[in-house]
Symmetry: D2
Subunit: 246 residues, 4 copies
């Protein structure tokens, strides 16, 4: 990367416009809070996009100029057009990073990239969440303590119907008796995907400096490494073989 | 499992009907050869299904009574209806095993379960293939030598655009200079998936006793273990907690 | 496998001989309880071995005739001779299954096979443990509910210093705020290893039919699949190449 | 990282001192060639250490000031003292990166960290090697083409007796009919390990700018991310629990 990492923060942005209790938590929208957190880092530049913009704010040009996309959605997954989902999927496979947040587990784009239902168990009961680091060497755990604690969050519980992550970074504990694989890395094509659990719309999770720091770490990790563009299709004929062995 | 493993062998079955040169290699169809190989095993019962049957031979009832489905397709992937693909996907996530063979890498069902393009590099040049066992402890390698050799096969080469397999069982070598991850295990939902590379329509690969043996091993491995049915959705309320700690 | 699976249940067997409170829980020793559980299965035959027997009960002949070894130790890891540890390691790499139980995480054999400290966090406070199944398709989860609950157990908490498991089957929850990767599969050489967390010497864990069932599942999974014996060293010279491509 | 990455390049350095034919290829020693390649990068500083120095050049102080250690050895693995091997292992588990090169697969330190024999198949016959990238998104593949080709190298073939890598970056092809997992990532404790196959003492592999570039990529990847130092042992008592759920 020669310049800063270009992040597009995508948000469904319906809860905050429709109900005061969510707007009070996120007066600039969930995307506003995430963007503010990321903007504090000199190596990252941020724009935002939301569902009700044309093309959901995700035009071909915008995606071409996005290194990492973050995704928050909840109640309106079905309102995202299949054409845009396909466009995002193709861009991920071509090297754009994708950070899927909280209820984005049920988004079309995440389910399509995972190939599974992405179902899980949930409960809203003001529970404390502890996210234990189980991969202390991973770049996404940089600068953290042995666990991250959030006073109040929605509970998500196993079984979480995803492919086994390439690397599991966090496992969450909830007082109600559940655990959850809450920080999951996946490689798909040339793209890197991170699923990060916290962030219910009624809690101030994305204002937490620690959570903001995890998202910034994830953005850096998910940025393309600039590896080779695969070559597909009919291969070179055999005359191009290496020199025969003596 | 109390009874035998119920396998449905699915085949596109177009090449063998349309061209003599393929029918000569597979007079009973590719599905016929695979079914014959599996039928030799007392713990397996086999039926077949093909693209041009009603519902492609994959009715709800058939799938309900299938423990493991094998899939061969090549030139008519787009003729498989989306409704049947969704039905098969749901059944895999619910515990049916799936063995995807050779050019099935580009089938709708495999791409949907992988979330990637499943693209690769290929060449038809009568090349020898050596499939090296890189997971000698794996059930799919039972009874094999250190490698399986096929005199003539189509070449498939990396990069193969799939998620990193949960377990990599075979890596293929081709004389033209390519390698390929040719035996790949994936867990999706409660289902197990095995991708197995060999089997171009112009070669007698599925008549090979060794290849038949690998497919039988894969069928046994992919059969449901009878684990728990996940519980999704709104979880028990908090009063169901374990007794508090003293 | 033509005959039954031959299991050797190894136990340090010091706690139960030295203190009444442990003997009351395990009057036949921890090995006795594990052996009793396994003996109920027609496809398994069991013998036991303990630390204070000659060669710790693990002679060359015994290991040669063992398909799967289970290991429980706690306070006397250092009393296990290095020669026997090397012998067990070699046998695992040659295809013997190994089930490492609870405090066996700090045994010489487990640390040697993992290459890490296998350190963890612990607390003895009569806590309830819930082991959530996170790989519902895995043979070790056969027949289970979505979680296994134990009324009272010792707590083990992350970070657990092991290599990332090839497959993670269970994640434990404890009321004190910790989580733990409590069912972990590893392939090493031709051998399969399963680490299973529960089983503190003061609790009747190994009398639990569910825990006994998990151990029996693990024994079956860890039994050699009969794959190829690798060939190492100076390879065939080049004249043994496949026929050149036309 | 505030300053440059501090790399210590370790070499057995016997071949080059004992035989003219190796000295001609590596007049400054293999370590000299590797160090020269790394020194071209502004973000990396390099020192070297060799077997016949006191403490093999790997004093406690040296290791404390090493972010990433590269290791080349071949004929004198047994001359490395166990005390130094333990010291290196402890430092890796505490966060130092380790790049194991070529015949270092049989070094005490690699075998100890893997827990397996690390055996393989080999042949010296001036064969061409092609290292195919199978993880195009991985930082170690940055800037590469779809494969790296070396005109002449020693052959290493499967089965390679290592744990399944956390990520497989390269798979090698050799004209004699073999394949090899030639770029393998492992996390152990807080440390990252990369095994990289090429580099027989009789070939100028480490003078190749592409190979030098891969090693530099690996050094950056293996540098500690600054994650949490795990806390082990007796955990906090229960009074430190999160506030009970309402």
């Amino acid at each position: 990367m020669s310049g800063p990492i270009r992040v597009t923060v995508w948000n469904e942005f319906r809860h905050e416009q429709e109900e005061d209790r969510y707007r009070e938590v996120y007066p600039e929208g969930i995307h506003g809070a995430i963007a503010t957190g990321l903007s504090a880092h000199a190596d990252i530049t941020v724009t935002t996009a939301t569902l009700d913009q044309p093309e959901h704010g995700l035009s071909v040009e915008t995606l071409e100029n996005t290194d990492v996309l973050t995704w928050w959605g909840h109640k309106a997954h079905d309102d995202v057009s299949d054409a845009v989902v396909e466009r995002v999927q193709a861009r991920v496979l071509d090297g754009m990073g994708l950070i899927v947040l909280h209820s984005g587990h049920h988004s079309k784009i995440f389910r399509r990239l995972m190939g599974t239902t992405c179902n899980l168990k949930w409960r809203v009961a003001d529970e404390t969440e502890r996210l234990w680091v189980v991969a202390p060497d991973h770049p996404i755990a940089a600068g953290l303590d042995q666990y991250v604690e959030l006073d109040r969050e929605e509970m998500y519980g196993e079984f979480f119907d995803i492919p086994e992550p390439d690397t599991l970074v966090f496992v969450s504990w909830f007082p109600g008796g559940e655990v959850f694989r809450s920080g999951c890395c996946f490689a798909r094509g040339r793209g890197k995907i991170f699923y990060f659990r916290p962030g219910h719309e009624s809690y101030p999770t994305y204002h937490s400096p620690t959570i903001q720091s995890v998202i910034a770490n994830a953005v850096r990790w998910a940025t393309s490494s600039g590896g080779p563009a695969p070559v597909f299709g009919n291969a070179n004929p055999l005359e191009s073989l290496p020199a025969p062995v003596k």
